[in-house]
C-alpha cells in the first residue's frame, strides 16, 4: 500500500502542471459554455492531443500513450483542478475509441482511431431515446437491412456534442422479433449523412449541452457495425463500463476543486462559516473519502484487468456530494446576490448529476443486485 505518487507519477504530475501553466488559456479556465467558442475549444483539444495527453492509456499500437491508468487518473485530476475545459473529443476518447479498440474490426481501428486522437473528428453518443431512458434495452430506433446497407429511422436524445459531431456511436433495434437484449446492433453513424437532424435541448439552466437526434431513412453501410449484428447490447455495455471507469477521476477532481473553493470562501467569512463548520468539514471528509475510494477502485481494477460494478458507488456518491456542496456554497455566500452567475448556475446544473450517465435509482439497483447479490427488482 502506497498512498503517494510514485517517482514516475510525481514526474508526470509536475510535467503536466508546468505544461498547463503555459498552455491553458486563462480565458478558457472554468468556462461554462463548453462549445460557445468552437474554434477555441478545438485548438485547446488539439494542444492536448499534440502534447500526448489524449489517448494516454490507449495501446501504443493504435497511437495511444500506452500509459498505466494511474497516469490517466492524475491527468483527469489535474485538468479538473485547473478548471480546464473537456477535450472536445471526450466521447471519442473515453467511449467510442475504447469500444472500437475492444470490439471493432482492423479496418475500423485504422479509419477512426487516429482522427479521434488528433481531435480531427468529434464523436457523440446515440443511446437514450424519449421512451428508453433507464430501460435502455427497450429502445425503438429501427435499422432495416437492405443488402449491405442499414436504413435507420428513429429518435435519440441527451446527446452531448451532437451539434458539432462528425460521428455517432448508435445503438439500434435491428431485429424487433428477437428476445430482449438480442435484437440490438451497434453502429458507427456518419453525422453528415442525409436524414440526420440535430436539435439542441434547452435545459433548465438555459444552456444547451444536450441534443436530440432525428434519424429519417438514414443509410448506414453494414461495414459500420461494431461486433456482430444482434450483439449490440454487449458492445454498448463495454462503452458504458469505460464511461464509468474513465470519468471517475474527472468527477472526484472537479468535486475537490469545488470543495477547495468553498473552503477558501469560508475562511474569508469567519463569522458565517462558524455556523456551517460542521457541514464544511463533513463535505471535505466525504470528498476525501470519495477520492480515496476512486484510487482503491483503480488499484482493484489494475489487479482484475477491467473495471467492476463497484464503480457505480463513485458516480452515486459523487452526484449527491456535488449537489450538497453547491447548496452549501449558496448557504455560505449570504453576501452575494441571489443569482451570482456561478454557484447559482452550479446548483441548477447539479440536479442533472443524479440523472445523467445512470440515475441514482439505477445505480442503487446495480449495487443491490451485482455487488450485494440481492434478487433482481424486476
Amino acid at each position: 500500500m502506497e498512498l503517494e505518487d510514485s517517482a514516475e507519477e510525481a514526474a508526470f504530475r509536475t510535467q503536466l502542471r508546468t505544461w498547463l501553466a503555459s498552455n491553458l488559456p486563462a480565458e478558457l479556465s472554468g468556462v461554462r459554455h463548453r462549445l460557445k467558442d468552437l474554434d477555441r475549444a478545438r485548438s485547446w483539444s488539439r494542444a492536448l492531443s499534440e502534447a500526448g495527453y489524449a489517448g494516454l492509456t490507449w495501446p501504443a499500437e493504435y497511437g495511444g500513450g500506452g500509459a498505466p491508468p494511474a497516469l490517466d487518473a492524475i491527468l483527469l485530476e489535474e485538468l479538473a483542478w485547473a478548471g480546464a475545459p473537456q477535450h472536445i473529443g471526450v466521447i471519442g476518447l473515453g467511449m467510442a475509441g475504447p469500444t472500437i479498440i475492444a470490439c471493432g474490426t482492423e479496418a475500423q481501428k485504422r479509419r477512426y482511431l487516429p482522427a479521434i486522437l488528433q481531435a480531427d473528428e468529434i464523436w457523440c453518443q446515440g443511446f437514450s431515446e424519449p421512451s428508453s431512458g433507464s430501460d435502455l434495452a427497450s429502445l425503438r430506433t429501427k435499422a432495416e437491412r437492405h443488402g449491405n446497407t442499414f436504413v435507420v429511422n428513429g429518435q435519440k436524445v441527451w446527446s452531448s456534442y451532437a451539434q458539432v459531431a462528425d460521428w455517432c456511436i448508435l445503438l439500434v433495434l435491428s431485429d424487433p422479433q428477437a428476445p430482449r437484449y438480442q435484437g440490438l446492433t451497434y453502429l458507427l453513424l456518419d453525422m453528415h449523412s442525409k436524414g440526420v437532424e440535430v436539435r439542441p435541448i434547452r435545459q433548465l439552466t438555459g444552456d444547451s449541452d444536450f441534443n436530440e437526434i432525428y434519424l429519417t431513412d438514414v443509410e448506414v453501410p453494414a461495414t459500420q457495425v461494431v461486433g456482430e449484428v444482434g450483439q449490440g447490447w454487449g458492445v454498448a455495455m463495454t462503452t458504458l463500463l469505460h464511461e464509468r471507469a474513465t470519468f471517475g477521476f474527472s468527477l472526484t477532481g472537479s468535486l475537490e476543486a469545488s470543495v477547495r473553493e468553498v473552503l477558501r470562501l469560508a475562511r474569508e467569512r469567519p463569522e458565517r462559516s462558524r455556523d456551517l463548520s460542521d457541514s464544511l468539514a463533513q463535505e471535505w471528509i466525504r470528498m476525501q473519502a470519495l477520492k480515496l475510494t476512486a484510487h482503491r477502485s483503480l488499484a482493484e481494477t489494475a489487479r482484475r484487468g477491467s473495471p467492476g460494478p463497484e464503480g457505480s458507488l463513485i458516480k452515486l456518491a459523487w452526484s449527491e456530494a456535488n449537489q450538497r456542496v453547491t447548496k452549501l456554497a449558496r448557504e455560505l455566500l449570504t453576501d452575494l446576490p441571489l443569482d451570482d452567475g456561478h454557484w447559482h448556475y452550479l446548483q441548477l446544473r447539479s440536479r442533472a448529476n443524479s440523472i445523467e450517465a445512470g440515475t441514482s435509482e439505477i445505480l442503487r439497483n446495480i449495487i443491490a443486485e451485482r455487488v450485494l447479490g440481492l434478487p433482481r427488482s424486476r
Partner: protein
C-alpha cells in the same frame, strides 16, 4: 499510488477471517456477551500463538516486525466478529508507551494493557480484562495496576472501568510522554474506525442474507427497492469509511503529516456509517431485528460505543474543521500535544 493490500496483507486478512469464523461465530459471540465474565480469557493465548499480539514487535522481541497497517487488518476482522477481549486496548492503544521488555511480554500473550489518556479517573476500556494500565498524569505516562470499579457500558463485549489510584511506575516524561500520548490518541481513533468498518460490513451482510431469503407477497423482500436501496446506501457508506480508515492507518504507519486529520475524519465517518448500517439492518430484519435473539443488537451496541468513545463524530469534524483553517463553535477532540507533528518524515499531499 497503489491503494491495495499486498499479497501478504491479504493472506493475513484471510487467515484472520477463517480463524475467527470458526472460533467466534455469531452464536459464540452472543453467548459470551450474555455471560458473567463477558469474554474468553483463554482466547488471548490463541491470539498470541497466531502472532497477532506481536504484529508490530521486532522479531528480536518475538514479534513479526510488521506495522500498524497489519495491526489494522487484524482489528478489522476482530471488529467483524465482535471479539470481546482487550486487543484494541492493548495493541492499538497502550503499545506505543511500552518498552522492549513489556512489548515482548505483550507479544507472548503474557500481559494485557489498557490506557487512561484523558484524566486518571476517566473511563478505561476493558479495565477488568487487563493486567496494567498506561495513565497520563501531568507530563508523565505511568504504568498503574488495574485496581478500580466497573462502570456501566452499553456494550457488554467491551467494558469500561475507573481507576481508584493513579500511582505507578513512570514510563515516560516530558516531551517524549506528550509525543507518545498523541500517537496513542491517533492510533485509538484510527483503530476504532477500522473496527467500525469490520462490524458495519458484517451487519450489512446480515441484512443481505435476510433480504435474499425472507419472502413476503410471494417474493424475496430484497427484490423490493424500498428494502434494497437503503442497503445499497449502507454499502456506499461502509466503502467510503473503509477508504478513510485505511488512509488513516497508512498515514500512521509512515508517520505522515496528515495522520491527525485522517484519524479524525475516519473516526467520524466510520462511527456514523456503523450506527446507520446497524439501524438499516434492524429495519430490514423487521420484527426479528428487534429481538434479543438476533445478533444485530450486539453490533448496534458496539457501534454506539465506538460512536461515543474518544470523541463523538461532531467533535472529530470540529477537529477536521480546525485542520482546514476554520474556527468551529463545537469543542473539538484534541490529542495532547496536537500542535506537534507525529513525525517529520512525510509531508502532506492532500488539503
Amino acid at each position: 499510488m497503489d491503494f491495495a493490500m499486498s499479497p501478504e496483507q491479504r493472506e493475513l486478512q484471510a487467515q484472520a477471517r477463517s480463524f475467527l469464523e470458526v472460533r467466534f461465530p455469531l452464536s459464540r459471540m452472543a453467548q459470551l456477551a450474555d455471560s458473567e465474565v463477558g469474554w474468553d480469557p483463554d482466547s488471548w493465548r490463541e491470539l498470541g500463538e497466531l502472532g497477532w499480539l506481536g504484529v508490530s514487535a521486532p522479531e528480536s522481541l518475538g514479534g513479526a516486525g510488521l506495522g500498524f497497517l497489519e495491526e489494522a487488518i487484524v482489528l478489522e476482522e476482530l471488529g467483524r466478529c465482535l471479539y470481546a477481549g482487550p486487543y484494541l486496548a492493548t495493541v492499538a492503544l497502550a503499545l506505543p508507551a511500552l518498552d522492549d521488555a513489556r512489548r515482548a511480554k505483550v507479544a507472548s500473550g503474557g500481559q494485557r494493557w489498557s490506557a487512561a489518556l484523558w484524566q486518571p479517573d476517566g473511563p478505561v476500556p476493558d479495565l477488568d480484562r487487563v493486567d496494567q494500565v498506561v495513565v497520563a498524569v501531568d507530563d508523565q505516562l505511568l504504568a498503574v495496576d488495574p485496581k478500580g470499579e466497573r462502570l456501566s457500558s452499553i456494550d457488554p463485549t467491551r467494558t469500561l472501568g475507573r481507576l481508584l489510584s493513579s500511582a505507578g511506575e513512570s514510563l515516560h516524561r516530558g516531551e517524549e510522554a506528550a509525543r507518545i500520548t498523541r500517537v496513542m490518541h491517533l492510533r485509538l481513533w484510527t483503530a476504532l474506525a477500522i473496527e467500525a468498518v469490520g462490524g458495519a460490513q458484517r451487519v450489512l451482510e446480515l441484512a443481505v442474507d435476510h433480504a435474499r431469503t425472507r419472502e413476503q407477497f410471494g417474493r424475496p423482500i430484497g427484490s423490493y427497492q424500498a428494502v434494497a436501496h437503503p442497503l445499497a446506501d449502507s454499502y456506499v457508506e461502509v466503502e467510503l469509511a473503509r477508504s478513510l480508515a485505511y488512509w488513516a492507518a497508512w498515514c500512521l504507519s509512515v508517520d505522515h503529516q496528515d495522520s491527525a486529520i485522517a484519524a479524525s475524519a475516519a473516526k467520524a465517518a466510520a462511527a456514523e456509517a456503523y450506527v446507520r448500517a446497524c439501524e438499516r439492518t434492524i429495519q430490514a430484519l423487521g420484527g426479528i431485528g428487534f429481538t434479543w435473539e438476533s445478533p444485530v443488537h450486539h453490533y448496534y451496541k458496539r457501534a454506539l460505543w465506538i460512536e461515543a468513545f474518544a470523541g463523538r463524530p461532531r467533535q472529530h469534524r470540529a477537529q477536521v474543521a480546525v485542520h482546514l483553517g476554520l474556527n468551529p463553535y463545537e469543542s473539538s477532540v484534541q490529542a495532547a500535544g496536537a500542535s506537534q507533528q507525529v513525525g517529520p518524515n512525510r509531508t502532506a499531499s492532500a488539503a
